[in-house]
């Protein structure tokens, strides 16, 4: 074979290989989706959504408390985490000095990379130990620690993309800086910021590691935010490891519900963003 022929062959082979890798990777997503729908689809019914878990062997239990518990903790995390992340992001993008911003940004990235289980340990030491009680509050706090860096970075990024001319226009009209930020820059970036927040919430909704020893679990309705609380991801974990077929089916159903929620939020976030900038 000629030299050129050989080079062309290598070209073809390698390019095809990269294509095949892509196919494999993308098909994993569909495999997961398909498998969950296949296994979980039949187990989601009215009981599953509205009843408490029953002892194994009895038919008709559900995971209503875990669904509510998940929402509760996400809400707590959002109340703590979103404002801090948002304000921090605004400060970094609009007011912070160069070196300081860089340091904070770097720290936020590191915090983002901290394993979620370590965050759980941390939340345990500063919330659970002093309160002598596993609680939804501790779980929400752990989740909020993950939410802050995500919100901060996305807020900052989208504020940075607001055109300079817009700021200068407002300043030229005599508006003080805070007014420019609050009434011109932030509204211009609303869509992006909302997207970032949604993605952050989708990410923490699926987290189970930090909840294991902060919110623990609960087979009944939690009576308040200072009580141990069930959540969907932790329920999936315990149900999947249990040796009962009935529980496995419930785990699949819960998995489908969770994945459906997370993916829907992701798609929605991207749709909001896409409508804003057709680029």
């Amino acid at each position: 074979m000629t030299r050129l022929g050989y080079r062309k062959l290598v070209n073809m082979v390698m390019l095809t290989l990269t294509g095949v890798s892509t196919l494999v990777t993308v098909s994993v997503l569909f495999l997961i989706l398909g498998y969950l729908v296949w296994n979980g689809g039949t187990s989601i019914d009215w009981n599953f959504l509205t009843k408490l878990p029953l002892p194994t062997g009895e038919v008709g239990g559900g995971m209503a408390n875990a669904i509510v518990g998940s929402f509760m903790m996400i809400a707590i995390a959002a109340v703590i985490g979103l404002p801090i992340g948002f304000l921090g992001g605004v400060y970094l993008a609009e007011f912070g000095g160069k070196t300081f911003s860089f340091a904070v940004r770097y720290m936020a990235d590191l915090l983002n990379g901290v394993p979620s289980i370590v965050i759980g340990v941390f939340a345990w030491t500063i919330v659970v130990v002093p309160m002598h009680q596993f609680s939804a509050l501790a779980g929400g706090f752990a989740l909020s620690m993950m939410l802050v860096p995500i919100t901060l970075r996305s807020t900052e990024q989208f504020l940075g993309e607001v055109p300079r001319a817009l700021r200068e226009g407002a300043l030229a009209l005599g508006a003080p800086k805070w007014k420019v930020v609050a009434t011109v820059v932030v509204p211009a970036a609303t869509r992006g910021i909302l997207t970032g927040m949604l993605l952050g919430i989708a990410r923490i909704a699926g987290e189970s590691a930090p909840l294991l020893f902060t919110a623990l679990n609960n087979a009944f309705w939690a009576t308040g935010i200072t009580q141990p609380t069930a959540s969907l991801p932790v329920m999936i974990y315990t149900h999947a490891l249990a040796p009962y077929d009935d529980w496995h089916r419930q785990a699949w159903a819960a998995g489908l519900l969770l994945l459906g929620g997370v993916l829907a939020t992701n798609v929605a976030a991207r749709w909001i963003l896409g409508r804003g900038n057709p680029a």
């Binding site: 080079r7 289980i117 969770l258």
Partner: protein, 284 residues
């Protein structure tokens, strides 16, 4: 906040630091009843599974990134990139669920017997074939790290200036030659960065690993054997830990994991920042 985290962990792990000192890191004992704690089996398990996972996910991830940034038509590339992002968004407990009911049985019935038949003379492929163990954990981790590797590698590849490619092509290089000899070397820092980020992810991954690794605090050469990682021992034993010493040992394990991932992450970020400065496109 990061500093606060460090201080909190440091203080709570005080009792075990005082008792075991540096020996904590190299001791292989893990005996809650006798009150002896050593971290080595967990560090071993954590590092082994993560490195194995990267052996699979790096070649796959980088080639997907090359395909998406260099070859695929824009529409297809965007669609695929979107799906990869969704893959990154799948909660880890769901990967664990999939792993228990699909990966583990397949490994037990087909994968491990095959490896044993053909490579059984190597120490890595010996012992009983249970399905659960290092190999299963590494496989799951590799799938979970791929999306991160793809996303960051692709960003650095796209930051390579167009002229570089055109110059290579104009000199008569084939498409692949231009990619492998010009574009990839240009973006290599960013690709290394993506590998480190993937590594950090894999090191700290808890749920999926805990569900398939078998949870046995001892060191084996065989990949079929059960093991333990730092993250999964925390997940399993933390709520059951009784006594100050036991708990503080677990917290110190958390501290070790935290420090490892912080170092890996710090390196990764620096590499990514270095590439994006060199390139023309600003990457987030």
């Amino acid at each position: 906040m990061t500093l606060l985290l460090l201080i909190g962990l440091w203080k709570t792990s005080g009792p075990s630091q005082a008792k075991f000192g540096w020996k904590f890191l190299v001791s292989t004992d893990w005996d809650p009843v006798a009150g002896n704690f050593g971290a080595l089996p967990f560090i071993y398990g954590t590092v082994l599974t993560s490195v194995l996972a990267l052996l699979i996910s790096v070649p796959l991830g980088v080639s997907v990134a090359i395909f998406l940034s260099e070859l695929a038509p824009p529409r297809l590339a965007n669609a695929c990139a979107f799906m990869v992002e969704l893959l990154a968004a799948v909660p880890s407990v769901i990967y664990g669920l999939m792993a228990i009911f699909t990966v583990v049985p397949v490994l037990r019935e087909y994968g491990e017997p095959f490896l044993k038949r053909h490579f059984g003379y190597l120490p890595f492929f010996q012992g009983p074939m249970l399905g659960i163990g290092f190999l299963a954990a590494a496989l799951v981790l590799s799938i979970m790290t791929i999306p991160y590797i793809i996303a960051i590698s692709r960003e650095s590849l796209m930051a390579v200036p167009r002229d570089q490619r055109e110059a290579a092509l104009a000199l008569g290089a084939t498409h692949w030659e231009s990619t492998s000899q010009v574009v990839v070397p240009y973006a290599r820092l960013g690709i290394f960065g993506s590998v480190f980020l993937g590594l950090a992810r894999a090191l700290g991954e808890t749920m999926a690993v805990t569900m398939v690794i078998g949870n046995d605090p001892s060191i084996h050469a065989s990949l079929f054997a059960s093991g333990y990682t730092i993250a999964s021992v925390l997940a399993n034993e933390f709520t059951e830990a009784t006594g100050k010493l036991y708990q503080s040992s677990l917290v110190e394990l958390g501290l070790v994991l935290f420090l490892i991932t912080i170092i890996v992450n710090a390196l990764a970020r620096l590499l990514v920042i270095a590439t994006s400065r060199k390139g023309t496109v600003h990457t987030a």
